[in-house]
């Protein structure tokens, strides 16, 4: 057979790479037995792909470690070559000179944004509460006290003063939540009308005391303050109740 092959180099390449459909592949294979010229053309396209892969895999260890903006919060063994203080310093530098990158940076920037973040999350979480959320919570006094004790251990703080009743508001349960790897304690209360109220607490060691202030989150009212290494946020759908309850808690601590 000396008839000219009907296949282009591109088609033969696709055949070698397994990219032709079954029918086209079968056609080439069946033609091979009767067309020695076709086999010769395939030979001319036979690149050592296995060796190419091995050679390029040998290059991978030459890669530099991932830069700090990727690696800072996700240490890998490669990053261990760089000392932590250096990572933080470079991360801050990257943050300072690069375009705004939200919360991808580490170190000082995280410290600054973290407080805003946990309050947003906790408030949004509370926005999902309806009266039934807490009405169905029927722990007895001993169970509730055990929850408070466990949450207090997690937070390394005595929480009992914060679960005292206020007006018609009674304590219903304590939950251990988490934010950025740190415990976030939520003490849930309910008024006589069924309104859910939450006191959320995180540790903020080293942060200065901050006086009570109020802020709206959609139609929820939040009260925030920081005292002796703990940051608080009280939140409910009743602005008056939130403010009065918050003042009474601040006076207790």
């Amino acid at each position: 057979m000396t008839t000219k092959s009907p296949y282009s180099d591109e088609e033969l390449t696709a055949f070698l790479d397994g990219e032709l459909d079954d029918a086209a592949s079968a056609a080439i294979e069946s033609r091979l037995s009767s067309d020695p010229g076709l086999q010769a053309r395939l030979d001319l396209l036979a690149a050592p792909t296995q060796q190419i892969r091995e050679a390029f895999d040998a290059v991978l260890p030459l890669s530099p470690a991932p830069p700090p903006h990727i690696a800072a919060a996700q240490p890998t063994k490669d990053v261990a070559r760089t000392t932590p203080w250096k990572l933080t310093a470079v991360a801050c530098l990257v943050a300072a000179i690069a375009a705004p990158v939200g919360w991808i940076v580490s170190g000082a920037f995280d410290q600054r944004t973290k407080l805003d973040d946990w309050r947003d999350y906790a408030a949004a979480y509370h926005a999902l509460y309806v009266p039934e959320t807490l009405s169905s919570s029927d722990h007895d006094a001993a169970q509730r006290q055990a929850q408070v004790d466990r949450a207090g251990q997690m937070l390394r703080a005595e929480l009992s003063p914060y679960v005292e009743p206020f007006d018609t508001v009674v304590f219903r349960r304590a939950q251990v939540l988490g934010f950025d790897g740190e415990p976030l304690i939520q003490l849930a209360f309910q008024s006589a009308s069924g309104l859910p109220i939450a006191l959320c607490i995180v540790r903020s060691d080293g942060a200065p005391d901050v006086d009570l202030s109020f802020e709206d989150f959609d139609q929820l009212r939040t009260a925030s303050w920081t005292r002796e290494g703990l940051s608080f946020m009280l939140i409910s759908g009743d602005a008056e109740l939130t403010e009065a309850f918050a003042k009474s808690i601040v006076d207790r601590s």
């Binding site: 282009s8 180099d9 591109e10 088609e11 033969l12 390449t13 696709a14 070698l16 790479d17 990219e19 030979d43 001319l44 396209l45 036979a46 690149a47 050592p48 792909t49 060796q51 190419i52 892969r53 091995e54 050679a55 390029f56 895999d57 040998a58 290059v59 991978l60 260890p61 030459l62 890669s63 530099p64 470690a65 991932p66 830069p67 903006h69 990727i70 690696a71 919060a73 996700q74 890998t76 490669d78 990257v94 690069a98 375009a99 990158v101 919360w103 991808i104 947003d120 999350y121 408030a123 949004a124 979480y125 926005a127 999902l128 309806v130 989150f217 959609d218 139609q219 929820l220 759908g237």
Partner: protein, 187 residues
Amino acid sequence: MRQSQNTAGLRFIRMALEKNAHESVRTALAEAYPRLWRFCLTTTGRRDRADDLAQMASLRALEKAHLFEPGTALDRWVFRIAQRIWLNELRAETVRQGGGVSQVDDIDLPDERASTETNVFARQVFATVMALPEAQRTAVVLVYVEGYSYKEAAAILEIPIGTVMSRLAAARARLSSPSSEAKGARA
């Protein structure tokens, strides 16, 4: 009241998704970084430029993390980002600075297996691929090293599948046995 609670709930979900997107993109970028750098090395043909391009591409990917579709392949996405930065921002400057685009002399393969014939051969194969024109060696690495399909490679390079095929066919013709060096000598 109920309406506002729903709004807040949606806001919560959106915040969580955005934060999750950043974290998952960052984690995946750290894992894929050596391969991203290798792709940049192939594209730029120069180690210093590969360092720069891989850093720029990963930073750009983090900035655009909210655009990343979870469940899709992050490596292909960041490779495409690197390719765009190279073509739009770095390539012309690199060429203008002289010395050609490709300078692979400063790339030494690790010498883990002593100086065996295998190792010598690996160096030759690497050098031969890197001596291909940029468009061909990039296609070779995406398909034969990274294992992407033609379709995936075409999407990364933002070229038609037919162009991937013709680049690979041309590369295969230059890389084929018995000796591409002999072919090069004839050329």
